[in-house]
């Protein structure tokens, strides 16, 4: 198999000993078809066991190996070495606090995810004896794309708005709100609007579209947010301009 000497410039930060982060250069022999994650694993196994990063599935499903690779948010298990020339710069995901080396703290995203109630709030509760909630293929297709999110947070690292305004609920969490709003079994839209229709919700988005470009699951958060802007605007008109429309 063809091999290639790859140079990686990896951001290192140890909160116990470092006052600030610095780059460390590694040279590692890699196979041509490897991804950046393979190179990091080789470094950790053979060169520097102190290197820290998150990963799990190695097949773009778990969403835990997101990093900035040459300044772009990518899943490192999905970033093929053959796509890069020269020194590859690997940094932790932008816009998140760095815990150690390439490991970031996802707490802000997790807290926002909870706020949008990303679960089915049944339209009508019925006892188990009445059977399952049925759904047609057409009803499924309305939200299926938005349910593909793997919570990798690449969209947050790509979103300039989140970088500038950390209060922004952000692409992935809002898209999940949309996913449940679009579900025929769900009746929780009004509750979610309390978060979605605020300044920190969809209205902080300026439709840059970077979220959709970097999404490894092709969720297209930007489209979900624009659709929610339209429905939130219709809500606003009903609430403010139509007599008796105030909810």
């Amino acid at each position: 198999m063809k091999e290639r000497l790859v140079q990686l410039e990896v951001l290192r930060y140890n909160p116990d000993t470092d006052t600030e982060a610095h780059f460390q250069r590694y040279e590692v022999m890699c196979q041509e078809e490897w991804v950046v994650l393979d190179a990091l694993n080789k470094i950790k196994a053979d060169i520097d066991p102190t290197l820290n990063y998150r990963w799990s599935c190695h097949m773009a499903v778990c969403g835990s190996c997101g990093m900035m690779i040459n300044g772009e948010p990518k899943l490192s298990c999905h970033a093929f070495l053959r796509a890069y020339e020269g020194v590859i710069r690997v940094e932790p995901l932008a816009h998140f606090p760095v815990e150690r080396d390439l490991v970031t703290a996802p707490d802000d995203f997790m807290e926002k995810l909870k706020r949008v109630k990303p679960y089915i709030i049944p339209k009508e509760k019925k006892p188990i004896s009445e059977g399952e909630y049925k759904q047609t293929p057409a009803q499924l297709m309305k939200f299926r794309q938005y349910s593909m999110c793997i919570n990798c947070m690449l969209c947050y690292a790509a979103c300039p708005e989140y970088g500038l305004t950390p209060d922004f609920i952000g692409p992935a969490a809002l898209t999940l709100a949309h996913r449940y709003n679009q579900d025929s079994r769900d009746g929780g839209r009004k509750e979610r609007q309390e978060v979605v229709a605020t300044h920190e919700g969809v209205w902080e988005c300026t439709f840059v579209g970077a979220c959709s470009e970097v999404c490894p699951a092709h969720v297209d958060p930007a489209s979900a947010l624009q659709q929610m802007k339209i429905t939130s605007s219709i809500d606003w008109i009903v609430e403010h301009l139509i007599p008796g429309g105030k909810s």
Binding site: E161, L164, E194, T198, G201, W203, F207, S232, W236, I237
Partner: protein
Amino acid sequence: MAKSHKPVVWFPFAAGGTVIAFCIPVIVVLTFMAALGHVPAGLGYEKLHAFAGNGLGKLILFGVVALSLWSSAHRLRCTCFDFGLRADTLVATLLYAAAIAGSIASAVFLLRI
């Protein structure tokens, strides 16, 4: 958290964005063609003047101009914000004032035809 009143500015922005996407490229091409002396049949000065003189024509022209201006002002406001210019109230006031001034001007010119 209170719900945002952003729809007031966003709805005309979205409408303007649609108008810009559909109409403005056509208008730009037609203007260039006219400048080069190729005026398509049916779009001569007399016909367009008559269109602008008609009540419905005035309304359509005003809609295209005003919505495009509003949309551009809002887009520019967002762009300033994205580029880190955080004096949002000042930027918004200036840009929306320009859009409103342009809209009033187009209304005045249309009414004088």
